[in-house]
Symmetry: C2
Subunit: 120 residues, 2 copies
Amino acid sequence: MADDRLSRVFSALADPTRRDIVARLASGDATVNELAEPYDVTVQAVSKHIKVLEDAGLVSRGRDAQRRPCRLEADVLDLMTKWIERYRREAEDRFRRLDAVLERTAEQSAADAPAKEAAS
Amino acid sequence: MADDRLSRVFSALADPTRRDIVARLASGDATVNELAEPYDVTVQAVSKHIKVLEDAGLVSRGRDAQRRPCRLEADVLDLMTKWIERYRREAEDRFRRLDAVLERTAEQSAADAPAKEAAS
DNA sequence: CCACTATTCAACCAATCGGTTGACAATGCC
DNA sequence: GGCATTGTCAACCGATTGGTTGAATAGTGG
């Protein structure tokens, strides 16, 4: 119960290399060696990155002889989108309401004191 | 040029406490002390969390006497949603195409060998 | 001016992270 | 069987992280 799923997903995607790996997996499955090729880090480092993505549920692995092909699990991305969208919408609604209040207040002031400015 | 915006946003939200702070700010601005109250960590720790969120562009701060009220900047959330949705859609499309191919292949096999099952 | 409140800065600490090297397991091919 | 290929495990290292305590800054209100 150490850390929830959402935390693992967010922190998995906090690393640019891992985001890049996800981007590449979106256009097709790939083996660890294929994924490691473009970077100038060891294949072990990439293996670790993939493990992080796997623990977050973002990729699953198959078995093809001694190869362990990686596949993107897009479902988990919904989890993040849902979290994000919820608060974005909430904040936007709040701003909308605030704007409405301000507008009404402005109208009121105009009505109450049609020609008077606030004293300095 | 150390780290890009997206990395900062993702890693800011990788922490449960920070996600919680964002959630609370979505329903209204708050000061550091108010935000710190529910947690059993020092106010300094929360101040650091807010700084992380601020550096990621997720919150902005105002000035009201000696208070520095925090406000959620929801725009940045769009950045993440866009990144996520792009690859989710890409992966989904790929699966859809793959399904279509498999279906066509299945039809073909059925036509080629109407009554024959594959040998054990 | 003084005291109080709100917030941050600085130094420190343990844990985690991204990377390395080196050894090891598993599988296919000759 | 022997060997090359693919991938992981283990131990280590320096940097970063999330937390602490203690001191400093800044603005309010008597």
